[in-house]
Symmetry: C2
Subunit: 338 residues, 2 copies
Amino acid sequence: MVYYLGTQRLIELTTTVSLEYILLGIIQSMEEDFLNWQHFSLVPRHATFGEHGVIELMVVNNQKDYAFKYVNGHPNNTQQQLLSVTGFGVLSQMENGYPTFISEMTLLTAMRTAATSALAAKYLAPNTNTMALIGTGAQSEFQAHAFRALLGIDTLFIYDLDHQAMEKFIHNLEPQGFKIHPVNGIEAAIAHAPIITTCTTHQGSKGLIEPQFLKPGQHYNAIGGDSPKKIELVASALDKADIFVEFYDQSAIEGEIKHCLQHPSITELWQVIQKKRPGRIHEQQITIFDSVGFALEDYSTLRYIYQLAKTHDCLDHLDLIPDPIDDPKNLYQLLHPA
Amino acid sequence: MVYYLGTQRLIELTTTVSLEYILLGIIQSMEEDFLNWQHFSLVPRHATFGEHGVIELMVVNNQKDYAFKYVNGHPNNTQQQLLSVTGFGVLSQMENGYPTFISEMTLLTAMRTAATSALAAKYLAPNTNTMALIGTGAQSEFQAHAFRALLGIDTLFIYDLDHQAMEKFIHNLEPQGFKIHPVNGIEAAIAHAPIITTCTTHQGSKGLIEPQFLKPGQHYNAIGGDSPKKIELVASALDKADIFVEFYDQSAIEGEIKHCLQHPSITELWQVIQKKRPGRIHEQQITIFDSVGFALEDYSTLRYIYQLAKTHDCLDHLDLIPDPIDDPKNLYQLLHPA
């Protein structure tokens, strides 16, 4: 049998232990895996592009575990009352190839993306209780919770083209104790905050964040520019900053850096976490975390949530494979039991 | 919600309509897709090799559908009472990226492999009611059923190194009306049969089938040599035959042909089905179908079984993704319903 965690059970689990508890667990799991970066086989994701979007398989393994996530990205889905991103993930054992755990990863992808952002900010961002959020779509509340859980940020300047999305954000997070200030433009939001998270669905290669918006000492957490056709920062804005990525080979295709591969300061985050390269080194430095999402983060998330759900008895069973089996050479017997 | 077909429900469905009915349905679905070969994006599988085996993701899509199969190959699993091959598959829609159907594919892989073999034999094999089966492991009974369902073959000469596996085969298939003759060696089995199916787990690159075993007019269905380290036919045996493969790029790595890429007669099966290249052209011709398994065959199988299971009300539901959702920009609301 294969263990299964569906959306409903994950929601129950979140209610039991709290979203921020889970986010901190994912961050910790991720930090451990980034410390073991060299023990994983890392490959760019397998992407299938269609007219309306992309379907990706993100695979990673070490000697013991294998993991993959199925995830789609269809920006126009929201016009048909569908999510633009859905996903699910699988853990299996390298030793025998048996899948052991299958999980919803629509909610978990939102959690792991926020966890990654907060983990990067721990190493790269200035100390503050204030963040600007540009884009208040499906990902935004998770970002806010992860930054509060890990770094104590509780004051948010927010901006979105879509006013209803801003109202939704306020409606969701004011009851959770956040101090929220809606503003009427990107520049106004950025002006108030030492940390800026951009999680927009902005289409196009021009970018939203102009170079003159950037202020000394700021940390940018850019997570919306995650495909070959999307960027959030105008290319010349990157010149002013030190850039940090998850996995260079993938970010070079999908991330903000795709327009400035000659940039003199691009560092992979694991190098900072392992203290092989510096993170934030002075107060005036502008840092950019150019995040596109990476398979190892999904593995860290699956590994953590599997154990947590087991502990809280939140796992179901699926007969996705015939296990156990009496005689492995007698698969046919399943159809004609003796 | 995502539709789910687990092992137990597939067994029920097989009992309802019969294994041979399903095999014929898969063959027909596959023949349709081979006739539309040019409309699919075909890529070699994504393989992750470990110390004990391989885990593969096999992906295929056309403009409308996307499919992948997770499958492992761990030859020594049987020593621990585990299957050497397990799998599951997923269908989704290119238009919005939503997964629609997830299914067990351990039994289905055995069925689709047998269906592919029978489909190839329809175009390549001589008319006969007799087949030799070398190797009577987990795959063998499915081969026998597919050849009977499509071509009327009911007389089998069988050989396996493992006598218990031969007894198991007889025990399973004699009650199903097959005439079965166990023999005490590969050459003896081959001597009696116009069609020879090799489905062994033979390890190593030397091969089991010697060139002097081959007789004019025979058709070889070689399905056990399916990884870079395994072959079933001694390389010089291939010289005597016309060879047919599923997808050259993949067979060149995994199939029998990997040791004779300069062979003058290697044809892809779809070319024969589409009448672009000849199949069997004279009575003395020796043909070899060098089958390694290909993603399109899994798609054909998933597509067919999904419809069949729907018709017979054999599908369950899984909350693998949050669907439906009230407001796609408000993923967070799932955690804090209004």
